[in-house]
Amino acid sequence: MIAVINGRRCKLDVHPMKRLLDVLREDCGLTGTKEGCGEGECGACTVLVDGVAVDACLVPAAHADGCAIVTIEGAGRVRAGKALQEAFVKHGGAQCGICTPGMILAAMPVRAGASLEEIKTALAGNLCRCTGYLSIFRSVQAGLKTRPKKKRARANAR
């Protein structure tokens, strides 16, 4: 499998049915992507594959072959991701931290002027057991406000 992971071209010798989640954590050492439920319920393992938010626990390595992948380790390299990370710190969007990488990755494709409803819809596949979501929604709203216009088109890829 060849993929561009967080901007770096990686050639990995992995089983095509290995979960992308395990490839990232075990073969790439990128343990920022968390396993919550392992069945697509919680969104903790959300990553972007070619700009699209997916649950890495439900994606075989074969489907990431030839794709550009962004994990939480690479989110800060994109200005949209960095703005969200800073907003999560400032507005208390993270408590225990298990859901946070997935929340930030799921929020990255959201358009800059999104309403609260749109943000809730985009994050509907991500569960948090600490915050009650309000501080997360506040963080995402703030992060989207500071998103620079130039990067919008790319972040809105899907």
């Binding site: 089983h15 095509p16 049915m17 290995k18 979960r19 395990d22 392992g38 069945e39 697509g40 319920e41 969104g43 959300t46 699209v52 938010a53 997916v54 649950d55 626990c57 439900l58 994606v59 075989p60 074969a62 489907h63 799921a106 819809t121 985009a122 994050l123 509907a124 596949g125 991500n126 569960l127 899907r158």
Partner: protein
């Protein structure tokens, strides 16, 4: 993951023709696409199948378009690999089958909608498949293809029982055709919460000169409530339609709900459909 990955194999055809040839050679292969069901079962260790053929890369199965020729000219054709997100964003589906858009929006969350496919929802054959009542109420047709050729079957004759269908092991679902729908469309899903929920009951309805109602999660397969719909078509009361409905569904108790609750909810949904499509 409880299922060891080393026990699995994956064939990766580059074309539909190649995929059909692989299935003709070995009909025991399990086709996979968005993997949103397959990987859950692998995680639970409940999937007996170990050998898979990957359809995800077959872009020829991906488009959504207006019918091009023949009797299906007025139908829209949705490729089997169209994801829920593709359906939600398609102006054609929004205009012609808004109830399918409504159903797609309630499947899982964004991550599942980005990967799960319409063909997969049909093939997985869960009684709780969210798009299935819509396809039943819409009078959709399923396009099946094998190395030997193509056939089209009515969606309402597709399932033969709990998780069984007329699809032969060497056949793939390649597309779904949806004819023009006359009348107001309606869709409602009742689950534990508004996202990431497997449905307890869901209903699709079309209120035209002929009324059509289909319900999911209340029987081994999706059910067309023909008796209830006939009462409504002939101008009967909602109470009579609800009585008819009771006789044509067989909801069970399971981890998500009880049969009695589902029966009551189904009746209530029928009333809501009628009230909201006035």
């Amino acid at each position: 993951m409880p299922t060891p990955v080393s026990a699995l194999s994956l064939q990766r055809p580059r074309t539909l023709t190649a995929a059909l040839a692989m299935l003709a050679d070995d009909p025991t292969l399990t086709p996979i696409a968005g993997c949103t069901d397959v990987f859950v079962n692998l995680h639970f260790g409940t999937l007996e199948n170990r050998r898979f053929v990957d359809l995800w890369g077959l872009d020829e199965l991906r488009g959504i378009r207006a019918g091009a020729s023949g009797a299906s000219r007025a139908s829209i054709r949705i490729g089997a690999l169209a994801t829920y997100t593709d359906i939600i964003r398609s102006p054609l589906v929004q205009r012609r089958v808004p109830m399918l858009v409504a159903a797609a929006r309630e499947v899982g969350g964004a991550q599942i909608q980005n990967r799960g496919t319409l063909g997969g929802n049909i093939a997985n054959a869960s009684p709780a498949g969210d798009t299935l009542p819509v396809l039943a109420a819409a009078g959709a047709r399923v396009v099946l293809r094998s190395a030997k050729g193509e056939r089209t079957v009515p969606f309402n004759g597709f399932y033969t029982g709990y998780r069984t269908s007329v699809r032969q092991p060497a056949e793939l679902i390649t597309a779904v055709e949806i004819p023009p729908i006359e009348g107001r469309q309606w869709w409602r899903k009742v689950g534990t919460r508004r996202a990431q929920a497997i449905s307890k009951v869901m209903m699709a309805g079309v209120r035209g000169r002929t009324v059509r109602v289909a319900i999911g999660s209340v029987a081994p397969t999706v059910v067309q409530a023909t008796a209830a719909a006939e009462v409504l078509t002939k101008g009967g009361s909602i109470a009579d339609a609800q009585t008819a409905l009771r006789s044509e569904i067989t909801p069970i108790d399971d981890i998500r709900s009880t049969g009695e609750y589902r029966l009551r909810v189904a009746e209530n949904l029928l009333a809501a459909f009628w009230r909201e499509t006035k």
